[in-house]
């Protein structure tokens, strides 16, 4: 029975999502109840995870791991899901996609992510991944009357299935060469003497890179992010990245730890390619969601630069990067949710023109977030990059550091281009002010965090520094 307590959060989440589905069908006007209950479910799951013991435990025949990394990432996933749900409430209502299924599918996707984060076995990981992916396909096409949304869902499905295929092929090779799906056993059997097994790693990395949308496997990202409803886009840019990054860390540092020299160059390449693509391709964008897609590719590139170092401080720096990225993107999407006039949402960058005159407070918040995304000190975004480059230079990977910092200059260009539109251009009609307190709190909260992060940067480091893989 001991086992049950370790996987209780997942069991609880699974049961309550099914319960909510049934409840929503049978209750009249069930959507309000479901909305509230979804948040309560997530909070309770989070509480269950936090109360778990701090030691590293592997259960279910060593296929499922609970350690500092998984606990931290799970809490992060759940916490930011709450924020995303709160901030997109108004959007869902106005676009008439405020359905029971939406909440339930998000819960199911969360379940998949929790399993991914804790997986210590190829098959368990695959189960989690598929559960999550299938939910995400549905979410992408949730605005089913709209051509773009349907297209996004289909595109995501087709391309992502391809990646899953590659991943599975890699898994089967690994199983063939090492004789197990368990991470520990793979790790001991996979070494540089077993070169053919290294071959399999390429497939696994490509498959995973696809899921995180690292260049050059990013093709689906801009289209899917643009086509999906904005609430889903904001979910996409935040939550699946947490799970995918955790899985990446786990794969690289546990089963593949003996072949670090082989995968390191691949990850460095992926990181550099994403940083360059993320900064250059975003320059020409006019749609803000598309721009955020490219920006997220770039940001993932930086996060992976940390992983590429192969050290504990590297992992910690990329986790710090991830957390700060989440806060910044949450704020940015809160701003995008506020771009509405008379129940219609706008997505074009030019619609922001002269925002500083019409909505000065929103403009100021956006300004802070954009400068932070560009990594200008003393805002939080700078510290995120700073930790990454600390770790990268510690490992003497100077080319990676130099390219990384040069691309921040290029990417600064498109962020300040938005600031230019907001602050220097002639004003258009003002956006409606929102009365949704959730959205407002999230915008101001994230902005405040970004602004005052420099006063006490140790807090985040203290939390993250307990996470070690080796």
């Amino acid at each position: 029975m001991q086992i049950i307590t370790y996987i209780l959060p997942e069991i609880f989440l699974a049961i309550s999502s099914m319960f909510l589905l049934i409840l929503g069908v049978f209750l009249k006007r069930g959507i309000k109840v479901v909305n509230i209950l979804t948040i309560i479910t997530i909070v309770l799951t989070m509480a269950l995870i936090i109360t778990q013991s701090n030691e590293t435990i592997k259960v279910l025949n060593e296929s499922y791991i609970i350690d500092e990394l998984s606990k931290f990432m799970k809490v992060l996933t759940l916490l930011f899901t709450i924020f995303v749900l709160l901030s997109s409430k108004e959007y869902l209502k106005i676009n008439n996609i405020d359905k029971i299924e939406y909440q339930v599918i998000i819960l199911a996707a969360l379940l998949g992510m929790l399993i991914m984060i804790s997986s210590y076995d190829l098959i368990v990981f695959y189960l989690g991944l598929e559960l999550q992916s299938l939910c995400l396909y549905i979410l992408a096409s949730f605005k089913k009357n709209e051509e773009k949304s349907t297209e996004a869902g289909l595109k995501y499905f087709v391309l992502s299935s391809l990646a899953t295929g590659l991943l599975l092929y890699g898994f089967s090779l690994i199983y063939g060469f090492t004789g197990s799906t368990n991470f520990t056993i793979i790790s001991s059997n996979l070494n540089t003497n077993n070169m053919s097994a290294v071959f399999a790693i390429v497939f696994v990395i490509v498959g995973l890179a696809f899921k995180v949308s690292l260049a050059p496997f990013h093709m689906w990202t801009p289209d899917v992010y643009e086509g999906s409803p904005t609430s889903v886009t904001s979910f996409f840019t935040l939550i699946p990245k947490i799970a995918a990054l955790t899985v990446f860390i786990r794969f690289m540092y546990v089963p593949f730890q003996n072949v670090i020299n082989e995968w390191q160059s691949i990850v460095v390449f992926l990181a550099i390619a994403s940083m360059i693509l993320g900064s250059i391709a975003a320059i020409g964008q006019t749609n803000i969601k598309r721009l955020m897609a490219y920006s997220s590719i770039g940001h993932m590139g930086y996060a992976f630069a940390g992983i590429a170092t192969g050290t504990n401080s590297g992992i910690q720096s990329s986790i710090i990067y991830l957390v700060i990225y989440l806060v910044m993107n949450l704020g940015a999407f809160a701003c995008i949710f506020m771009m509405k006039r008379k129940n219609e949402f706008y997505e074009n960058i030019n619609d922001l023109s002269g925002l500083s005159k019409t909505n000065p407070i929103l403009a100021f918040n956006f300004l802070i977030i954009l400068f932070s995304l560009a990594g200008i000190p003393p805002l939080a975004g700078f510290f995120a990059k700073f930790y990454i480059f600390m770790a990268v230079i510690e490992s003497n990977m100077y080319p990676l550091a130099i390219i990384g910092l040069l691309t921040t200059v290029v990417s600064a260009f498109y962020y300040i281009r938005i600031i230019k539109v907001i602050y220097f251009d002639k004003p258009r009609k003002s956006f409606d002010s929102t009365y949704d307190w959730g959205l407002k709190t999230i915008l101001y909260g994230s902005c405040l965090l970004i602004l005052i992060y420099f006063i006490y940067p140790s807090m985040l480091i203290d939390v993250v520094s307990s996470i070690k893989i080796y």
């Binding site: 700073f386 550091a401 910092l405 602050y423 220097f424």
Partner: protein
């Protein structure tokens, strides 16, 4: 003394900005109140820094008023402290900022509240640069200046403001990211970013050259040195008057300060090695940009190019590394801070009245604006380095120092003085003397009280320090000798090493 006076000086403007940010109410009241807050906080800051100066011990080369707080656990401390060099720059900053605020209130027509916030935040960041004794903290403040300056140029600038703001932002950002890599490398090489400790331990010679170049890339853009100066004329021309003043008077000095504190202090051997590079770039800057300045039709552009030329003197002085030259270049920076501020304000006075920066649209102003003509004369003479103005003292000391080091450099640099005289006097002649080219010019009003007060105080200081430079030189004296002693010590031991 336990009172954290440096933190107070740094963060008072920030609090002022915060107060302005949260003031609510009808627009008139908000504007009025934010003016009061801005003037109040910046002048309090000025008096605090005067107080700091009186308490400053000129007999020691140690860092004074040091504050040290835990910041990022384990590796970075938030450390502040000043020596003679930073003392002068702090005074310059706290003196120029109220002037910018007065001038902004006078000439900025919209979004005054935001403008004042930007200026005050800017002051905080600049003071942070001059006070910080940790490389990371320094970088934080150094880079942070980009945000308010970008907004000042972009929002209140002229017609091509967007282009100029972008050019300014990207140029300086590109320069400084390399410095960030260098700073992080220093951390991993020597285990600390604490400047006091770093000045004591020597950074291994083989790293010094690369690190020096990385720092150089940042400071050379900011200074600006030829051929990286092209952002400066654009930024100056399009920025509002107050923006130009801050840019020319204080922002450029951060680079000179950086050279003195970091390039020479931390990498003495590399500094010695690269001196010919600096000398040649500076000589080109002096002669080439002076010639360009001669041909300008736009007053602000002319002054901007002359700034580049004057900064050329500063870099020559710094890297001559004799006591006179270094003191001279510090003096030159302060004096240029006063003179260029005054000149940009003078241009601003004309622009506010006639909305043109073209030299050809003016002429014969002496008959309509006599007070203006007198003050402008003083600043012109200061800019060309006439004895009796502060401009002379700086250039003279630099040339004496450079002469000891390299005669050719000194001779070529003095050509710059002649050129400076020609473009400044020609500018003066075209604007102030001659016939009125336009009937409208007769309507021009002479200086109002605020402008008179600002320009008069600047003129007073320029003349005062021209005749009596002692207070300034006395402040930096010990610091500079210590800097040069350290440099020589390092160099000698290195030469010894090579011989062995």
């Amino acid at each position: 003394m336990n009172f954290p006076i440096l933190s107070a000086i740094i963060f008072i403007p920030m609090f002022g900005a915060f107060f302005i940010l949260i003031t609510q109410g009808n627009e008139k009241n908000v504007e009025k109140n934010s003016r009061y807050v801005a003037i109040f906080s910046s002048s309090v800051n000025f008096f605090l820094s005067l107080f700091l100066w009186f308490n400053f011990d000129t007999q020691t080369s140690e860092f004074q008023f040091v504050e040290n707080k835990k910041w990022i656990d384990g590796f970075i401390n938030f450390q502040l402290g000043i020596d003679g060099i930073s003392m002068l720059f702090i005074l310059l900053t706290t003196f120029i900022t109220p002037i910018c605020i007065f001038s902004g209130i006078n000439s900025i027509k919209f979004k005054i509240k935001e403008f004042l916030i930007a200026i005050l935040v800017m002051e905080t960041l600049i003071l942070g640069v001059f006070c910080s004794l940790d490389l990371i903290v320094f970088y934080l403040f150094f880079e942070g200046c980009l945000i308010p300056m970008f907004l000042i140029i972009g929002i209140w600038g002229g017609e091509r403001k967007v282009y100029s703001a972008f050019k300014f932002f990207l140029y300086t950002l590109l320069g400084s990211v390399l410095m960030l890599i260098a700073i992080i490398s220093i951390y991993w090489i020597s285990g600390t970013t604490d400047v006091i400790k770093l000045l004591e331990i020597n950074i291994p010679t083989e790293y010094q050259f690369v690190l020096w170049l990385a720092f150089f890339s940042s400071f050379a853009v900011k200074m600006p040195m030829w051929p990286l100066h092209t952002w400066l004329p654009d930024a100056h021309v399009e920025a509002p008057t107050a923006g130009s003043v801050i840019l020319a008077a204080i922002l450029l000095k951060m680079a000179g300060y950086g050279f003195l504190r970091f390039s020479i202090g931390l990498f003495p051997i590399a500094s010695n090695y690269f001196t010919p590079l600096i000398f040649s770039l500076s000589i080109i800057a002096i002669i080439y940009t002076s010639l360009i300045a001669l041909m300008q039709n736009d007053m602000k552009k002319l002054i901007a190019y002359s700034s580049v030329a004057h900064m050329g003197f500063v870099t020559i002085g710094i890297f001559s590394l004799t006591k006179q030259a270094v003191e001279g270049s510090i003096f030159q920076m302060i004096s240029h801070g006063l003179i260029s501020a005054a000149l940009f304000l003078c241009v601003g006075v004309l622009y506010d009245r006639y909305h043109s920066r073209e030299i050809s649209s003016y002429g014969g102003l002496v008959s309509v604006m006599p007070k203006y003509a007198v003050l402008f004369m003083i600043f012109t003479l200061g800019a060309l380095g006439l004895p009796g103005t502060s401009g002379f003292v700086g250039e003279f000391l630099v040339l004496i120092g450079a002469f000891q080091k390299n005669i050719l450099v000194a001779v070529l640099a003095s050509i710059g003085i002649i050129l400076a005289a020609s473009y400044m006097l020609w500018l003066y002649k075209r604007i102030i003397f001659g016939k009125l080219p336009n009937v409208d010019l007769k309507e021009m009003k002479d200086l109002n009280n605020t402008e008179l007060l600002i320009l008069f105080s600047l003129a007073f200081l320029i003349l005062f320090f021209g005749f009596y430079p002692e207070p300034l030189l006395n402040t930096v004296d010990i610091t500079v000798s210590n800097l040069i002693d350290n440099y020589q010590l390092n160099l000698n031991s290195y030469m010894q090493e090579i011989k062995n």
